[in-house]
């Protein structure tokens, strides 16, 4: 299955103040463990790099327990069963779950989120468009944003793994879609690859003016992956009854103390608008429903995705910081073993 004689692991060495950087992690090598009865040994092939991982290493209470200092960095991964002492799993099967940033994960069955059934699609889709990125877009947009045909949907980090799905699903639902992204390459990707009706480079020119031009009928749904000044500009152009999905806060490097921002209450009151936070894990019982829809759209070419694949686990420690610098074009993954 793999040539590795050791299990390389990325451990959390220190808790960052803000965005985790390479120096907050340590790469170590351990013996490859063997499964006890009931356990499964997974050979990770792709590791996921997600903005949410920033929250997982913070000491502040979050929706998940913080990763322990000295513990393997929590992450989604997709790989193959290398050895199994569980009757439901056989060597070679493709599985995905929170396997962590390591070559091998020794897990019990409860840690395996699923066997990957969509073997006609690339293995990487298990972590991106058919993983939590796509599922987050699906439920966040449809359940919290509740877009109606003809409405205008604005998406921040519009070219990212979640944002690009949001824009395309909104388009499939008959909405006008406006993406906000940083830099010309991402703006082009929004327009040419992800079908946004308009795309705005927030790093260039007057964002408020660009938003007003791109949203002549105002903003009905805002899928917010950033918080920060991008969101403040969107808040000023909400329509009556607007819905805001608070999915991520990529623009905010530190929450302790919380940064200051223009108060939102008057916008919300006058526009009878709604801001609502969203954590995908609350929808765990319905993942299959989303995955079926997403896989269908991928197969029919209606849902496109981009990937940014780093080669080698040694890139993991700096990969989150790079994400927050916006250096990736597409879903960031780290390949640490051959696919087959």
């Amino acid at each position: 299955m793999s040539e590795s004689a050791v299990n390389r692991q990325v451990l959390l060495r220190a808790r960052p103040d803000g965005i985790p950087q390479a120096e907050h992690f340590a790469l170590v090598a351990q013996p490859v463990p063997s499964p006890a009865p009931g356990q499964i040994l997974v050979r990770n092939v792709y590791l996921s790099v997600d903005p949410a991982m920033r929250g997982w290493v913070n000491a502040v209470a979050n929706y998940a327990e913080p990763v322990a200092i000295g513990g393997v960095m929590r992450s989604f991964a997709v790989g193959r069963v290398a050895a199994s002492r569980h009757p439901d799993y056989r060597p070679g099967e493709i599985v995905t779950g929170l396997f962590g940033w390591q070559d091998y994960a020794l897990v019990d069955a409860a840690t395996i989120e699923r066997k990957v059934a969509q073997t006609d699609l690339p293995m990487t889709t298990a972590l991106g468009v058919l993983g939590l990125n796509g599922i987050t877009a699906y439920f966040g947009l449809l359940e919290i944003g509740r877009p109606q045909a003809g409405e205008t949907v604005v998406v921040s980090t519009a070219a990212g793994a979640v944002g690009s799905c949001v824009g395309q699903i909104a388009k499939l639902k008959g909405c006008r879609t406006v993406g906000i992204a940083g830099g010309a390459a991402k703006v082009h990707l929004c327009r040419d690859e992800f079908g946004y009706d308009a795309a705005i480079d927030y790093k260039h020119g007057d964002l408020a003016a660009a938003l007003a031009a791109a949203c002549p009928g105002g903003v009905d749904v805002y899928f917010d992956n950033t918080a920060g000044p991008i969101s403040d500009a969107v808040h000023a152009q909400l329509n009556v009854g607007a819905r805001m999905v608070i999915c991520g806060t990529a623009s905010v490097a530190r929450w302790d103390p919380p940064p200051q921002a223009p108060r939102v209450e008057r916008h919300l009151l006058v526009k009878r608008a709604r801001m609502q936070g969203f954590v995908i894990f609350d929808y765990a019982a319905r993942y299959d429903e989303a995955r079926a829809a997403l896989a269908g759209w991928v197969r029919s070419g209606k849902l496109r995705y981009r990937e940014d694949i780093l080669q080698g686990i040694e890139h993991a420690p700096g990969a989150i910081a790079g994400l927050y610098r916006g250096e990736n074009l597409g879903k960031r993954l780290i390949q640490i073993a051959p696919e087959a």
Copy 2:
């Protein structure tokens, strides 16, 4: 009906920068008009003074058109038909509507919100507990806040005309109620008259600590009439799935430019919480439903109210500023004619 030979009117003289003060209004005397065919002349008895009137005189777009400079100040009022050339209205009938700060309102039938049917209750209730204050509390709490029995509901301006109803309705629905008000007199009113389980004086001591002590199980619903630092303190103690009803912004004197505040996005995200703005006029088609429930609770003694009645229209110009200073204990009204 009245001894007035003239129609005294309070006109908007200048647009305030922030809270309207006495000097922004002018008291003038005009001849009493006569109804043309289809019109009704209403002799106002009580004028309403509401926090929302601040928004009605601002030039900034709101949910209602601004009052014109030189125009009669918009307000709710209750009075009696003095003369009618409309077949549906007869002299002596009690009516309420946006009749303005004046002795007499010459209106067409569409301006009359309703004939007051609850003649067993004091006339003033038409403007308070059975008027938009009570109806705002009813729909804001039940439709936006959606409290469940056993949950903790926190109310700002808890002793006010809206807040006192919110607290009592939440209690009727089986919630633990925590009121926030300014000063010992209002805090006592919250506890002794309006039945809050706990009441906090935000002007005295550490609000965050007092909130934590009053809400040991966290905050499930926040009915927000203030915005400002009171709200910031509540946001820090939200439970997962909390709902915030943005009903008013009494703590914010000026919105241009908007004041700075700690960003709310992380609270909303981590707690999957919702902030939603609310304007009662969106529920106009359902006012009767609310009024029937409210009147029933008033008659059975389950819903109490306090009034702060100024005597004479000459008190009108300074009455909004006084409200924002918190000088009233209960629903502020101005009596300008005898009841009968």
